[in-house]
């Protein structure tokens, strides 16, 4: 038969009892062989579970799906007229509501235009986001894995058409984790991969073309920051916040301009 104290012993094991009860239970365990065995079992089970079961992580595709769903959710809610609070809303005459409705429709149309128009004029944005998402899939992230810029940079020479600035900014929170070649805009572009916290930042670079560089934008939940340095164009893509992404962009720009002066 099970010892009447077994649930208390379990609670003790789980750290759910105060110091006074703990002392009490420890005294009990000293002369109860059954509860000693129980404690041992509990410890064994916990060790086995925590040692053998690898903690699962949500796959990057799911991250992307959720961000997209949230984007849609946010987009649906944004154009709603919320200038008037819910309580005063009902007291407004009908025509105010009607005008509000028309206004919000106009806002929605404008937003839709602003959001959709770059994709009509610039497939590059879609390519960049697609390349970024693809890179997050298993074993697609890096072709050369190194935190050493003297390894990553020469690798690009043989594998891509461009030679971008490469540096490890671990001290500023951007760890260099490697490089990759991606086919983008009809040329082999160089991608430098950084890690910032739990986020991956892909920095694409390609030879500057005649067309104007797109402005910074957000697509499918990913931020894209563009800049030009020398004869190369760069784009950093990630799901980090804007501040973090622009922080890396600034570091890389500074580095380019220092390289130019040297």
């Amino acid at each position: 038969m099970e010892c009447a104290e077994s649930l208390r012993v379990q609670a003790y094991f789980d750290g759910e009892v105060d110091a006074l009860s703990a002392a009490d239970i420890e005294r009990h365990v000293e002369h109860c062989a059954e509860c000693r065995a129980l404690l041992q079992d509990l410890e064994q089970t916990r060790t086995a579970i925590r040692r053998d079961l690898t903690p699962g992580r949500a796959p990057p595709e799911l991250h992307a799906r959720i961000r997209q769903a949230l984007d849609q959710e946010t987009a649906v809610n944004t154009p709603r007229p919320n200038r008037w609070g819910r309580t005063t809303w009902r007291t407004q005459p009908f025509w105010v509501g009607a005008l509000g409705g028309i206004g919000s429709a106009a806002v929605a149309a404008t937003l839709a235009f602003l959001v959709l128009s770059p994709s009509i004029t610039n497939p590059l944005l879609d390519d960049l986001v697609a390349a970024h998402v693809r890179s997050l899939m298993p074993s697609h992230l890096t072709d050369v894995v190194s935190t050493d810029r003297h390894t990553v940079k020469p690798w690009f020479a043989g594998h891509t058409d461009v030679s971008p600035v490469v540096a490890d900014f671990a001290q500023q929170g951007y760890r260099l984790i490697g490089g990759r070649a991606d086919y983008l805009d009809h040329q082999r572009s160089a991608v430098v991969v950084y890690q910032h916290g739990a986020h991956v930042i892909n920095v694409f670079s390609w030879s500057a073309s005649r067309g104007a560089l797109p402005g910074n934008t957000t697509r499918g939940g990913y931020h894209l920051a563009f800049w030009k340095a020398g004869d190369l164009e760069y784009c950093a893509v990630s799901d980090t916040g804007w501040d973090e992404l622009l922080g890396l962009a600034r570091l890389l720009r500074d580095l380019s301009s220092r390289d130019d002066r040297e």
């Binding site: 609670a11 690898t54 944004t78």
Partner: protein, 181 residues
């Protein structure tokens, strides 16, 4: 709106891995896990304004659990409608056997896989408390919130889950190695 999104990303999304793990342990079919987690995150986002200073992880996992229950009910309804006459109680076992890893026979000696399988074989109400306690490292109060039962029930289920796992583990190890571990 952006502010809400920003706060949500900062406070809730860090628990996405926990939500995913929990959904995986709840569900017998891996294909549904992504849908359940996505639905849970959307519901969480919609209800985020109502959340005030409580345990975000427990709150999110409770939503995951609800979404899993809803998905399961829909699935059962779909599954039962076409073949109401032929339902046999033994089908349940056949389904569980079919959904466990087909490779399991060849890697039965792999401790991790055995453990995972044994844990999956526990009754759901035992499995979930054990997973929340040992893998997500949650306290009794949080587990009670998520599973919507009193703390006393959490304690007794946890005890039965641990005893059940231990018993199955011993049987398995004895059966395979003819020795007690």
């Amino acid at each position: 709106m952006d502010d809400k999104r920003g706060r949500f990303e900062a406070e809730v999304l860090p628990h996405l891995n926990a939500a995913y793990r929990f959904a995986r342990w709840l569900s017998h079919s891996p294909g549904d896990v992504d849908d359940v987690v996505q639905e849970a995150l959307l519901r969480a986002f919609r209800g985020f304004d109502a959340l005030r200073g409580s345990d975000v992880k427990a709150w999110l996992l409770a939503i995951v659990r609800n979404c899993h229950a809803t998905a399961l009910k829909q699935q059962q309804r779909r599954a039962f409608v076409p073949l109401p006459e032929e339902h046999d109680p033994r089908d349940g076992y056949a389904m569980i056997a079919a959904t466990t890893d087909p490779e399991s026979a060849s890697i039965r000696r792999d401790d991790a896989r055995s453990l995972e399988r044994l844990l999956s074989a526990l009754p759901e109400e035992h499995r979930e408390v054990l997973v929340l306690r040992e893998i997500e490292d949650l306290d009794y109060r949080a587990i009670a919130t998520i599973t919507n039962v009193p703390i006393g029930t959490v304690m007794s289920r946890l005890a039965r889950a641990r005893a059940g796992l231990k018993a199955r583990w011993l049987t398995e190890v004895e059966g395979e190695r003819r020795g007690v571990r």
